[in-house]
């Protein structure tokens, strides 16, 4: 894979400029700078070159050049990812798909949209709105993140318990292989013959191919949506009431939990009327026909009371619903106000383990002397602990990262996993060997080889090579056992 000894940076630039407009081939330090990281800015690397092709044929040619010379290639959408999955390779090319912004078709009859990879997630729903349709998955970054990136990470969002992840909402993709060959995975129908390569591509973090077009399903906009907010004196009761709602047969459109840190930061920021004295807060959104929402809201209110909620409030208007959500949606920046920096984690756990996990996390928080606020997609067990730290204090980020790693290990120990929706990237690559055995990682590597035998697509991300996980195992066991992460 050593490349640059074959081709200098200037030569490579020249080569790209033969088929891409020179202003779209970036090689100077200053213009390269914004590409050095994605949404996880603690991980930076300057790329050799950034290219911004404008046609699929140009992308194809970029792939061919990189393949021919063995040059690492990192595809990039809006750069909002949170796992350093789009962090450049120092000897490689960043392939920005930012110019592929066109919504190619919104078809109200089949309730589908055909999109270029650089279309923003929210723009899909905006374009579909005139037909009474929308796109289901809604990651918090939906105002900026792109559908191409969503496919790469198999993004979720607040509504995925009911409406699924990206993989459930993509019908087909056009993809370029590492050799630059065009293939279509999936079709206009719901199932395909043969191996389900579409399932493999969703969440593959740019390691298997470059997606150049995506066909998604659109859903009818629900007639009505209302949200019930409930405050609780303790986390256990809040967790139990989530189980109670599910057991009653209701699948809420969204079911979110915040702990006291997050409640109080969000309330100070958004003034949504959250009970600041509560230890846990639940937001339960119910959508559907007007009749259905009425029926379910009454059930949810009753359930919250029966599980000991100290306060229950239901949105009476759209404005009130938006306000109640505003607190939750601004929880991350709100937490940012009470600390110089924060580090967002993304583990999943079986919901029943929530109280145990929060207790353990508090213990780790005491040990590391770092505060942690919790925001939780309670419906689907996806936990977002926000570790508060100060990057200007020497060593504090290292400590934060170690604490974060322990949280992910705790998630695995209780039967969960290291990432629910942010992806592995570089950030969680060490924890891959906590969730998977060496043989399982070898199987992943073999799948990678099936698509990309030379390993030029986003190298070093997603799946550790065996050498790497052996290193982790041999270096880490002492450190890993130090706090004696309890198995729940």
């Amino acid at each position: 894979m050593s490349t640059t000894n074959k081709l200098s940076k200037d030569e490579l630039c020249q080569l790209f400029c033969e088929f891409i407009a020179p202003q779209n081939v970036i090689a100077d330090e200053e213009t390269l700078k914004p590409y050095e990281c994605d949404g996880l800015s603690m991980y930076c690397e300057m790329p050799l070159i950034v290219v911004l092709p404008e046609t699929v044929e140009q992308v194809q040619e970029v792939l061919r050049v990189c393949h021919r010379f063995g040059i690492p290639l990192v595809a990039r959408g809006a750069g909002t990812g949170l796992c350093a999955g789009a962090m450049p390779n120092a000897e490689g090319v960043v392939l920005s798909l930012a110019k592929f912004k066109n919504i190619l078709e919104v078809n109200p009859q089949t309730r589908t949209a055909r999109l270029q990879p650089g279309v923003r997630n929210l723009a899909i729903s905006e374009a579909a709105a005139e037909f009474g349709l929308y796109y289901g998955p809604d990651p918090s970054s939906q105002i900026a993140c792109t559908i191409g990136g969503n496919v790469a990470e198999n993004s979720g969002g607040v509504h995925c318990l009911k409406y699924g992840l990206t993989v459930h909402n993509v019908l087909s993709v056009e993809m370029l292989t590492v050799e630059g060959e065009r293939v279509t995975l999936g079709n206009d129908g719901l199932d395909s013959c043969g191996l389900d390569l579409l399932a493999l591509i969703n969440g593959s973090e740019g390691l298997l191919g470059v997606v150049t077009e995506i066909q998604v399903k659109l859903l009818p906009i629900p007639e009505k949506a209302r949200v019930v907010m409930a405050g609780f004196d303790n986390v256990q009761q809040a967790g139990d009431s989530v189980g109670g709602i599910i057991a009653s047969g209701i699948i809420p459109a969204g079911l979110e939990m915040m702990d006291s840190y997050a409640i109080s930061a969000a309330e100070d920021f958004a003034k949504a009327g959250y009970p600041k004295d509560a230890k846990a807060l639940l937001l339960c959104e119910v959508d559907g026909t007007a009749e259905e929402v009425q029926e379910h809201i009454e059930q949810v209110e009753k359930l919250f009371h029966s599980f000991g909620a100290t306060s229950v409030r239901t949105s009476q208007t759209e404005a009130e619903r938006a306000l109640l959500w505003k607190g939750r949606k601004s929880a991350f920046p709100a937490v940012g106000r009470i600390s110089p920096d924060y580090y967002c984690m993304d583990g999943t756990i079986p919901r029943g383990q929530l109280a145990h996990v929060l207790t353990e996390m508090q213990r780790l928080s005491d040990y590391y002397q770092l505060r942690v606020a919790n925001v939780f997609h309670a419906g689907d067990g996806n936990l977002h602990p926000l570790i508060l730290f100060d990057a200007n204090v020497p060593g504090e980020f290292d400590k934060t990262e170690e604490f974060g790693g322990k949280i992910l290990e705790l998630c695995v120990a209780v039967g969960g996993c290291i990432t629910g929706e942010h992806g592995v990237g570089i950030e969680k690559i060490r924890q891959m060997s906590v969730q998977f055995t060496e043989l399982e990682l070898l199987q992943f590597n073999a799948i990678k080889d099936a698509f990309d035998p030379v390993g030029t697509l986003n190298p070093g991300k997603g799946v550790p090579t065996l050498r790497r996980c052996q290193e982790y195992r041999s270096i880490e066991p002492k450190a890993r056992n130090k706090e004696g992460v309890a198995h729940g």
Binding site: Q109, T110, N154, C160, G164, V167, H168, T177, V183, D188, G189, L190, D191, S192, C193, L195, D196, L197, A199, L200, N202, G203, P222, E223, G244, I246, A247, G249, I251, G288, T289, E291, E292, E295, H296, T348, P350, R351, G352, D380, G415, C417, I418, T419, G420, E421, H422, V424, Q435, F436, T437, L439, E440, L441, Q443, F444, A446, I447, A450, V463
Partner: protein, 367 residues
């Protein structure tokens, strides 16, 4: 009701050692699917039992040989279900075979397929390694999605030993309404209905009649029935219709017992074609003769046809066709795969099963 995974692992290792190819069999209910099976029978039906079921987590984990009837009975006690409504084939279908053959019923466009509900698997690959992928939680994006990759792979990548699935509450109410109309009108109407925010859960046309099922909260179902003004079917008849459709027991689907058992010798059954296409596409030469299910996305056709002609019709309708049952099971039965995708699929197969011992040729002649 036992964990036989160690035995199965030994059998795989022995087969690899002896260069013996294996034909993985659970309930043997879907032997008629795919190409003719070859190899020594590897019976996994004894590897059965529900390993873990947490109703409030909406997750169930079962060994691959567990019959769907056992799983559905356990779910029913908690008023839950497999929302992908898989065919039980006289009660002998297993969850492993259901995933391997990607079998889903009438609710598939609205509640998803088995592929959509699988959260994790354990499988034994061709090296005899027992591996675990995915998990028992709703969201898991660590590593490639090997679990969903098993859907429709027909056992070509390994012996699935355990599956974790998302399960869902049963809807509180359901009702079926019908309209009498032709195929083309039905295709248009089904697509119009699916664009409305109503509790639609199945839509199927056959023999001049469109059947539409509504499932959800009592009030929502009741209000929609009033608004849509179809003819309401009596519950008993409606349930029986959807059962026969989903279980592939309508006379349209009839497959003789010799074919069902995978014997292609003396196979005289009329070919049964399954189209997976754009929900709004019209295939004028066929539609009136089809069962048009999944709101237009799945079409079943019975009869002797030229496969390449069927493929070109499917492709112009935005999708694919396979020879689901009957006909010549020694030739290709799946839609033709482009050369580049053949190469990738062969490499993936080799990454799991380098010696090609699992179900060789079952999916494609070349794999």
């Amino acid at each position: 009701m036992a964990d036989l995974s160690a035995d199965i692992q030994q059998q795989v290792l022995a087969a690899r050692n002896d260069k013996q190819v294996l034909n993985i069999v659970g309930g043997a209910s879907k032997s008629f699917m795919g190409r003719e099976a070859v190899g020594e029978r590897l019976d996994v039906s004894g590897h059965s039992g529900i390993v873990n079921y947490q109703p409030v987590e909406l997750v169930l984990t079962a060994r691959a040989g567990t019959q769907l009837t056992e799983i559905e009975a356990a779910l029913a006690q908690n008023n839950q279900m497999l929302a992908f409504e898989p065919p039980r084939f006289s009660g002998v279908a297993t969850i492993g075979g259901t995933l391997a053959c990607n079998q889903s019923g009438p609710g598939r466009p609205w509640t998803g397929s088995v592929r959509d509900h699988v959260l994790g698997v354990r499988l034994i690959n061709g090296l005899g390694e027992h591996l675990r992928f995915g998990g028992q939680v709703m969201k898991n994006v660590a590593g490639y999605d090997v679990s969903r990759l098993q859907a429709g792979a027909m056992g070509s990548l390994g012996v699935i030993t355990e599956i974790s699935l998302k399960v869902l509450p049963k809807p509180a109410a359901r009702c079926t309404i019908v309209w009498d109309m032709g195929a083309q009108d039905a295709i248009n109407f089904m697509n119009q209905l699916a664009a409305r925010p109503k509790p639609l859960s199945a839509a199927c046309w056959l023999q001049g009649r469109l059947y539409v099922r509504l499932s959800g909260a009592f009030s929502a179902v009741e209000a929609t029935v009033k608004e849509w003004k179809g003819i309401e079917l009596e519950h008993r008849h409606a349930d029986e219709f959807w059962r026969q459709l989903g279980q592939q027991e309508l006379s349209f689907f009839e497959i003789s017992s010799s074919v069902r058992q995978g014997s292609s010798i003396g196979n005289v059954d009329m070919p049964l074609w399954r189209f997976s296409v754009n929900s709004a596409a019209s295939i004028p030469s066929l539609d009136e003769h089809c069962i048009i299910d999944w709101g237009g996305s799945q079409r079943w056709l019975r009869g002797e046809q030229d496969k390449l002609h069927m493929e070109s019709l499917a492709a112009s309708a935005g999708g694919q066709v396979c020879l689901y049952a009957g006909g010549d099971r020694r030739s290709e039965v799946m839609h033709t795969t482009p050369a580049v995708l053949q190469i990738i699929q062969k490499r993936i197969k080799a990454s799991f099963d380098p010696d090609g011992i699992f179900n060789p040729g079952r999916l494609y002649n070349w794999m």
